[in-house]
């Protein structure tokens, strides 16, 4: 029998712990495929964050580290400096990267650290049960913004790609989404490009993946994608913010 | 034998360096030494002081409570440290900046206008070397030759002119000590 689809080599056979309808699995797969395609499986290592993807260190079929909340870019910095012969990525959610880990991501990007960062933005804290994230949309209800996010009280969502794009050092910054098959194909290209640039030692690469959280949003998986398209994408516009390889500055 | 020394003055007068050169020379003569500076905001132009201990034995505490010798380049240093000089100890003071002096008569005082003399030698920067000269001239704590050797190795290639002035200042200081009553 001909096998036409299989698990990428860069993923272990440990079953994912994600909720039904969650897109972390898709994001993991895109990264793993890109690692396979670049032939990096024996030289790649990654850092898992705190959040729903806290167990990512079990899922990637390579040496992996698990970091304290928000600190993955610092941990990855230490790893890359200690093992320059290896290629390092971090996998982080919005609470991890854009709240508690703001300093770490900004400074890793500003140093042009030779790592790839995959940032999954679903506008909410998933693992702790649906609290407000720095990327939670205005008026969006969460367990810690039960009356909706009030921008005059807690400000507006943070657009991380735009923020990092003000820095000189980053080599590649792109926002994509995982909200439809077509978008996933675009996302794959972005992820592959980041891994390829990483392999070539070009510099700091960053891909934001706009995603969903059906469980904590309380919307079924299909509808949650539509909700995200309608509500998140207008605020978090997909696009390439920086690609020094293609002359996009 | 243990000699405990405090050097004090305004930041920029080079008091830390006095202690450092004494400690380094002491080390080269095979003695145990320690050098403990005051640190922090004081180094930015306020008063600075350094405790230096030179000893034949292992140095227990590097903190000097009762100095055998105080080098005071300004009046605040005298006010702060002179009362704790051990009876029979030595006070070397710079009369240019110590208008009130020190009233104790149970210690040996060597007073000289060190700033004026430094200018006379040719560079106000040699003030601290002048003080070192007085110090070693009076106490015999360090041999002049050790100081000369150390300074030469440190400065000969970098600034031979200043080296000459420094050595002259040390010698002049030794003379001041010898001629003091």
């Amino acid at each position: 029998m001909e096998i036409i689809a299989t698990r990428p080599e860069a993923l272990t056979d440990v079953p994912f712990t994600y909720c039904p309808g969650c897109l972390h699995g898709v994001a993991h797969r895109l990264i793993a495929e890109a690692i396979d395609e670049q032939g990096l499986i024996n030289k790649m290592t990654g850092v898992a964050p705190v959040g729903c993807s806290v167990f990512a260190y079990k899922f990637f079929n390579m040496d992996m580290a698990q970091a304290a909340h928000g600190r993955a870019p610092a941990v990855a910095t230490g790893m890359k400096r200690a093992r320059p012969e290896m290629h390092v990525f971090t996998y982080q959610g919005d609470g991890d990267l854009a709240a508690i880990g703001t300093a770490e991501i900004v400074h890793a990007a500003n140093r042009g650290e030779q790592i790839s960062v995959f940032f999954v933005n679903n506008a909410i804290y998933g693992m702790t049960g649906g609290q407000m994230a720095p990327t939670t949309l205005p008026e969006m209800k969460t367990t810690t913004s039960p009356y909706g996010r009030k921008t005059d009280d807690v400000g507006f969502p943070i657009r991380v790609c735009e923020l990092l794009s003000t820095l000189v050092a980053p080599y590649y910054i792109e926002r994509v989404s995982l909200l439809s098959p077509g978008e996933i194909i675009k996302a794959k290209k972005a992820v592959s490009k980041a891994i390829q640039y990483n392999k070539e030692g070009r510099g700091f690469t960053f891909v934001e993946l706009v995603s969903t959280c059906p469980t904590n949003w309380g919307i079924d998986p299909i509808k949650s994608r539509d909700w995200a398209k309608e509500n998140m994408l207008p605020f978090f516009k997909p696009g390439c913010f920086r690609d020094k390889g293609e002359g996009v500055e | 034998m243990t000699t405990e020394l405090i050097c004090a003055g305004f930041g920029g007068q080079g008091v830390l360096t006095i202690g450092k050169f004494i400690a380094k020379a002491g080390m080269k003569e095979g003695k145990n030494v320690s050098w403990l500076p005051s640190y922090g905001p004081e180094m930015r132009g306020g008063t600075a002081n350094v405790s230096t201990v030179v000893s034949d034995e292992e140095i227990a505490s590097p903190i000097v409570s009762f100095p055998d010798v105080l080098v005071a380049l300004n009046q605040p240093s005298i006010d702060k440290f002179a009362p704790s000089i051990r009876p029979g100890g030595i006070l070397i003071l710079n009369t240019n900046m110590c208008p009130h002096g020190c009233k104790r008569d149970d210690i040996v005082q060597i007073a000289a206008p060190l700033v004026d003399i430094a200018k006379e030698i040719g560079d106000p920067m040699v003030l601290n070397m002048l003080a070192i000269g007085v110090l070693i001239g009076k106490t015999g704590l360090i041999k002049y030759e050790t100081m000369e050797e150390d300074l030469t190795s440190y400065m000969k290639s970098r600034n031979p002119e200043l080296l000459k002035l420094n050595l002259e200042a040390i010698k002049r200081g030794i003379d001041i000590a010898k001629n003091a009553k």
Partner: protein
Amino acid sequence: MAKILMKGNEAVAEAAIRSGCRLYFAYPITPQSELIEYMARMMPKVNGTFLQAESEVAAINMVYGAAGCGKRVMTSSSSPGVSLKMEGVSYIAGAQLPCVIINVQRGGPGLGDIQPAQGDYFQATKGGGHGDYRLIVMAPSSVQEFADMASEAFDLADKYRNPVMILADGMLGQMMEPVEFKTARTDEEIADMWLQHKSWCIQPNEDGDKKHHHEINSLEIDPLVLEQHVNKLYEKYAEIEKNEISYEKFNVSDDNEILCVAWGTASRVVKSAINEIKVSGKSVGLIRPINVWPFPYEELKKAIGPKVKKVYVFELNTGQMLDDVKIAVAGKVPVDFWGKVGGVVFTPAEILEKLELALKE
């Protein structure tokens, strides 16, 4: 090798480099700035990594990453900065990573001041970060010892896969004393050092089909598994307590009327006072724990001579090691304490006065 007159902060940095430390991450803070500056100057000369992190938090997490790769890595700070590092220290202990952390203590709590103090004893020896873990904590009392401890600390860290803290203070950091360095490890030796960590650390996969999957991790979500992990850590700590007791006896004899206990900078001042007391024909001894964790409980108890009226603890805090001394003495004789705080260092004269009073009691 000839002796060099050097500040403690610089001597420990030089010694760390000589013992094979090739990665250093830190953030500036007084009174340890000479250490970070020395590393900034010297690391590039040995093809090492010096990186000034954006925060203490980032620095300790960089250490976590580098230590996870099996390389000799160090960070340093002073009290307030060490507090910030404590999150990472807990993770490093949980993940069993070897590294060296230097605390050049200053006065606290809070921003405190920048003068020498010993207020971080509890933090260093009793936790500091969250969870059940221990650091090996070494407390130098001279610049030479500070430097020597750098290589010992790395060896212990490697041996036990455990973070080691050198608990110094502003005086030891700022003071210059003559120091003699050990021969520097060669590049080949340093390159081979990580091999002892090959079985667990992050590295490229060179085993072909027998691909390894090493996890640098402190998370065990299953309570039964975490229980096993913490128990395993505690077996390791028991082993360290058995093997790594280190202390100095100064003037300890059966004639002692008082037995002092002091560590680090404080112990030097106490030694001066004991030397003065000798002149008057009275006998006072000193036990100086060199490693403050593990603490020499048994050894301290045994050092209490038949004539000892009192065990006298002197610290630059309000009585932190005092608790350990009380555990050690276990009511055998009274335990007294005197300390100075706020970055004020007691003088030999002050200790002498306390001892003379106690001898008259």
